[in-house]
């Protein structure tokens, strides 16, 4: 599963900014269309943080829904997966949101 590599990337990215500071909480944004399962990431994060400055940190994951816009009729609608089909029948659909995979912020021990 790629979620372990994602968890390691989260840890590396944060550590590059915070060094040895103890991290109490990590806030992530994992869009519902980004290809990463929030629950799998949570599981992998718990394993990957062992022995790091994030060991025991709370993981808060925001999962914004997928939003798309139809290039044919202009309708904007929510999508639950990447099977992109507008109610008008068009597959010319642009994803507007839901593909984010970002570290929003961390809570460091003062």
């Amino acid at each position: 599963v790629h979620e372990f590599a994602i968890a390691e990337s989260v840890i590396d990215t944060i550590t590059a900014k915070t060094g040895d500071a103890t991290i109490r909480e990590v806030r992530l944004e994992v869009g519902r269309l980004c290809g990463v399962q929030a629950e799998a990431l949570r599981f992998c994060f718990e394993l990957a943080v062992q022995g790091t400055a994030m060991d025991g940190a709370r993981l808060d994951i925001d999962e914004p829904p997928g939003l798309a816009s139809c290039q044919s009729c202009g309708l904007e609608f929510e999508v639950r997966d990447l099977i992109l089909l507008c109610a008008c029948g068009s597959a010319r659909v642009e994803v507007l949101s839901g593909e984010q995979l970002r570290i929003l912020s961390v809570e460091m021990a003062a």
């Binding site: 372990f4 550590t15 990463v36 060991d55 990447l82 961390v106 003062a110």
Partner: protein, 264 residues
């Protein structure tokens, strides 16, 4: 796994040059912040105040940066790089073998092979006479930009095309930019026409979709119309070529596409 500290930073990847078969020692590059001291429990007691640090950073920024470096390195040498992805057994290596045999006298080709273990695929490519390195990802389920950077340094290609055969997997490789110029997804008719909808991320990311093993169409229940329809749902307007890497159907179209990629 990192030979120094046992951390799983690069998933245990090894890069094997068949002409110098000792695996390259992990030129395992940790990000600047990666620490090797792995301290024990250093949490403060409960109730300690905390400071919020806003990062707003993409999780894959590190890989994407390395991929951008690969892309610049390739562009500087006038090289095209193809990230070829599929499930195991769809015919990636067979297509690369045949392409190497039939095209290498016209187009300089080098190959990067990705598998969890063994150098089977690299041996097959080496037999065609084309330069190749094998990346073994160990427990890893995909190639990443740093692995490809190591392989490129070993191959040191001059011009032409770098074919990167990713680890056989329709899920994880979709997320990791390698610095490629084009992404190709291969699927074979024996896998069933439902794959584009089952694995939409990877099909959506493809610049070109190759439907392989069409010589087997008379023997399998594969609905071509449904396949075309479903590809349209996940990647509207995607280029699709049908071929048989063993019998040779459609290879001219594939070579034409490839030649077009190499035009300035």
């Amino acid at each position: 796994m990192c030979a120094t500290c046992g951390c799983a930073d690069d998933g245990g990847a090894r890069v094997v040059d068949l002409d110098h078969p000792h695996p390259q020692s992990p030129s395992h590059s940790h990000s600047p912040g990666h620490r090797h001291d792995h301290p024990g429990d250093h949490r403060d007691g409960p109730g300690t105040t905390t400071v919020t640090l806003t990062l707003e950073e993409r999780v894959l920024a590190k890989n994407d940066l390395l991929a951008a470096e690969n892309r610049g390195w390739l562009a500087g040498r006038d090289l095209q790089a193809l990230n070829i992805m599929s499930s195991p057994g769809s015919g990636k290596t067979t297509l690369l073998e045949r392409t190497a045999r039939e095209l290498a006298d016209r187009i300089p080709i080098v190959v990067i092979e990705g598998d969890q273990e063994t150098t089977f695929d690299a041996e097959r490519i080496k037999a065609t006479g084309v330069p190749v390195v094998q990346i073994n990802t160990g427990s890893g389920c995909h190639l990443d930009a740093s692995m490809v950077a190591q392989a490129l340094r070993i191959l040191d290609p001059g011009s032409g095309v770098v074919m990167i055969e990713n680890v056989g997997n329709l899920v994880c490789p979709a997320l990791f930019d390698l610095g490629e110029t084009s992404r190709i997804v291969i699927m074979s008719v024996t896998e069933g026409a439902d794959k584009p909808l089952k694995y939409p991320h990877i099909f959506r990311s493809a610049d070109l979709i190759l439907l392989n093993k069409v010589d087997l169409l008379p023997y399998v229940d594969f609905d071509l119309a449904r396949f075309d329809h479903d590809v349209e749902l996940v990647n509207a307007g995607a280029r699709v070529l049908t071929l048989s890497a063993t019998r040779g159907d459609g290879l001219d179209d594939w070579y034409t596409w490839l030649s077009g990629e190499l035009l300035p």
